[in-house]
Each structure stands twice: as structure tokens, then as C-alpha cells.
Amino acid sequence: MAEMFSYAFMRHALLAAVLTGALCSAVAFFVVLKRLSFLGVGISHTALAGIALGLVTGLDPFWCGSAFAVATALATGHISRRGQLYEDTVIGIFFAAGMALGVAMLSSLKGYYPEIFSLLFGNILSVSPADLRLLAAVAAPVLLFIALFFKELLAISFDEEAALASGLPVKPLYYGLLAAMALTVMISVKLVGIVLASALLVIPAAAGYRFSKNYRGMFLLSLATGIGGSAGGLILSYYLDLPSGAAIVLFMALLFAASLLCRPRSR
């Protein structure tokens, strides 16, 4: 183990994995309770269009992807809240359209772009100190939002109508959560790539949900699964010579499977 962390790139990767794991599991807590898992899948795939736009125009792919992801999340929320279309229908359309736009733009690129493969499947081993600073800069406001409005988000997730009647700013908080999800997805893209990013927004909280009937326990277990899964997956990928993104998601899925076996919720 000591040998593994004698490499600077592995230390950076571990730090990125821990930070991303913590961020994802905090957001995943509300993604699972508010049943927004499919939205996470939609956001990550539409981000491809933004990333491709960045590559084509020479703008920063991360920020282009982030802008696209946030816009998609807010638009999906807005259209589905108007009640004319179901949320999963809206996501289904955005998901496919975003991917199609991304593929169309990428096809116009000439030559070989190794970052495309990294974006699709992640490359945590290439995380630089600058990437870590970016990660922290995005994670800080997202975690602050969750911490400041935790009890309100919980009340809204449980009973939105009662929360509205109490005068809580339900709509701004809902859109805030969607934007937080979108930014978290973009951070996860660095870790595991577009294809697998949404898994980090579901698995940690799903494992916590299995084990605990109490939200405090669920939140802590979600954090433990997110951080442990990301770090454990990274270490596993080093020893088994596996792609880090796939190893992280598989390791988390194994933790979830273990939660199924250990203590099924007696409902």
C-alpha cells in the first residue's frame, strides 16, 4: 500500500476519490429520497453535448459541460413541474438529444482526442493539483447548500405540499438541488466518466437506505459507502490493473450487494 501512495498521481487520485465520494454521497441522499436517480443518468449523458461543444470551440470542456448539465437539470425540473409531461419522459428526450448532439459535434473533430475516452469512462489517475482545486471549488458550494438547507430539503422530500403550505421556498430549493446534482455529476465525470457518473449519485445512498430506517443513519452510511467505495475501488484498480472508474463503480455495487445480504429492511 505504501508503495502505491509513493506516487504523487496516486495521492492526488485518492484525494479526488475521497472528496468526490463525500460530495456524491451527500447529494445522493436526496437523489434517492426525492427519487431523482434517472435524472442523474439524464444529466450526465446530456453533459456530453456541453463537453463536445467545449472541445469543438476550444472553450473549457468542464465548464461547457457544467453549463449544459445545469441547464438540462433546470429545464427538466421546470417542464416536469408544469405537469404537462412526466419527469421520466422529459429526461428520456433530453438524454437522447444531448447524446446525439454530443456525438454529432465530436464527429466534426479531426484527429485523435484521448480526452474523449477519459470523459466517457473517467481517468482519475490523471487528476492534477489544479483539478483538485477545481474539485474543491465546486464541492464547497454544493456541500454548503446541502448543509444549510438540510432540514428543509428533508421536509420537502417527505411532503412537498405541506412544505409549500408552511411557506418554505420549495421551488428555489428544488432547483438548487437540481443544480447541485448537475455540478456533482460533472465532478464525478472526472472520476468515473459520463457513462458511470450517475451511479455515484445512487449507490451510496441506496446502501444507506437498506441499512437504516433513520435518516441520520442513512446519511452516515451513505457517506461511508461513498468515501469507502471510491477509495476502495481506486486501490482495487491499482492491484487488479483495472480501469479506475469501472473498479470504483463495481466496488460500490459490491458494497450495495453486501447490504442486501447483511440486513434486509423488514418491510
Binding site: L154, S157, A162, A163, A165, S166, Y215, G217, M218
Partner: protein, 263 residues
């Protein structure tokens, strides 16, 4: 505790009409509810009862007319909202949602006043007090989803009461409960209403039990069909017109529903 004199109108609705999309759901409704009254809101399904409650809460804007609640226009309730307790229409809550009964009551403490801070000790104590008031303190630590329908309704009543409201708006709080539990719920509600000096507007399909508890009944089916004392309303031809059947049939339907539940 009530801050205005006993004869003041807690709810005042004047020529209220409400549209949902192109459909006129409420038309030209007028009534008043005085402080300390317990009013039963009845009417057939789709008659606009829930829309009326949501309009009073300021969640829907009237297309014409006016609704004043606790002296404020319903669309601009502001701080008056703190004084309103609400139980939304009986729904199936996610049985696996990881909240205990006490956590659910605490969600009722959340309002614009509690934004950006933790709940204070007195707010947490209020949650326990209200669980005691509804006879559910022993359920405080139990997962909400594990409770029976009647227990859940008591917890939701405690949540509606936790901010010490002056006005309670309850949308079919006893639907889905068996008749004995419904009766107990209404008895408890009546008791709490008297001891806290609450004004209550309760929507229910169970005309017979509601008639035994409410001071007045309002019957709406898009328009106001009749309002008055329970016996007067129950035997009125206007009630039969609203439900499109006779009182005997309503009574028989209620009795057969009761039989089938006892089954």
C-alpha cells in the same frame, strides 16, 4: 393563542372563483368562519374542496373574488402562514422514508422563520408536546412508515399543530381509517380544538360522523350548495342536489361502507 376577538372572522371568502387550467373549479363562493368554529367542508369528489383549501393557503390564486385568512389576503399570507396548520389530502406516504414519528412532527417546525438555522430546543420540545397532545408520544421513535393509518394521522395532526396555529385546515384526514378510528380521531380533534381555541376547517366524505362534531357544514360542488347547522344541511334538498342522490342513499352508502369494513 388567538390574538383577535372571538367574533372576528378567521376566514372570509367573498364571491371566490378559481380556475384550474381552463376549468372553473370554484364559482362564486362566499362564506365566513368565525374564531373557534369547527366547520365541516363536504361535497362530492371533484367538487373543489381541496382547491378551496389550497386557495386559502395561497397555493392557488383566485381568478376572481377574494379570500382573506387571519386578516390577510390568501395570496399574501406572509407571517400569518405560521399560524395555519395543514394536513394535505390523505396520501400514501413512502413507507420506507427514513423518518421517525418525531422527525415527521419536527418537519412541521420548518418555515421561513427557521431557514438557515437549526431547530431550537423549544421547537424540538414543541414536537414532543404535540405528540403527547395527540396521544402518540410512545410512537416518537418508531419509523413513520411502520405506523398504522390511524397512528400516522395522529402524527400528522401533531405536525400540523407544532407551530401552535390558530387555524387548522385538514383535507380528508380520516379517509381510509376504519369507522372506530375515524370517530376517535374526530373526538381527539374536537378536544384539541377546544383546549387550544383553534378554528378548524375539515374536509371529509363521512357526512354522518362529521355532522356529530362540526358546528356548521358547508357543502360545495363547484358552487356553494348549502351551509348551516349539520342537521339542517343533511336534510336539505340542496345537499341531495350537490351529491345527485338522496340523503337516504348517502346514509345507506355510509352504513354499507361501515359494514364492509367490519366485514
Amino acid at each position: 393563542m388567538p390574538s383577535q376577538d372571538n367574533n372576528s372572522a378567521v376566514i372570509s371568502v367573498e364571491r371566490l372563483s378559481v380556475k384550474r387550467g381552463p376549468a372553473l373549479v370554484l364559482e362564486d363562493i362566499s362564506f365566513e368562519v368565525k374564531r373557534g368554529e369547527m366547520i365541516g367542508l363536504i361535497g362530492p369528489n371533484g367538487g373543489g374542496k381541496t382547491t378551496l383549501l389550497q386557495t386559502l393557503l395561497g397555493l392557488i390564486r383566485p381568478s376572481s373574488g377574494r379570500a382573506t385568512v387571519l386578516g390577510r389576503p390568501s395570496g399574501k399570507l406572509g407571517a400569518a402562514r405560521e399560524k395555519i396548520g395543514y394536513i394535505p389530502q390523505n396520501r400514501t406516504y413512502d413507507r420506507r422514508f427514513p423518518l421517525s414519528a418525531e422527525d415527521v412532527v419536527r418537519t412541521g417546525c420548518c418555515s421561513p422563520r427557521t431557514l438557515l438555522r437549526s431547530l431550537r430546543r423549544e421547537e424540538k420540545e414543541a414536537a414532543q408536546e404535540m405528540l403527547t397532545a395527540v396521544g402518540a408520544l410512545h410512537l416518537a421513535a418508531r419509523p413513520f412508515g411502520d405506523l398504522s393509518g390511524g397512528e400516522q394521522q395522529r402524527v400528522l395532526l401533531a405536525r400540523a399543530l407544532v407551530r401552535r396555529p390558530e387555524l387548522l385546515l385538514l383535507d380528508e384526514p380520516s379517509t381510509g381509517l376504519d369507522p372506530a378510528v375515524q370517530q376517535l380521531f374526530l373526538e381527539r380533534l374536537r378536544q384539541l380544538q377546544r383546549s387550544y381555541g383553534l378554528t378548524v376547517l375539515i374536509v371529509s366524505h363521512d357526512l354522518l360522523s362529521l355532522a356529530g362534531f362540526a358546528d356548521r357544514l358547508l357543502c360545495i360542488n363547484r358552487t356553494m350548495h348549502i351551509h348551516g347547522e349539520p342537521q339542517q344541511v343533511l336534510h336539505s334538498p340542496a345537499l341531495q342536489k350537490a351529491y345527485r342522490c338522496t340523503y337516504d342513499i348517502l346514509e345507506m352508502a355510509a352504513a354499507s361502507e361501515e359494514d364492509s369494513r367490519h366485514g
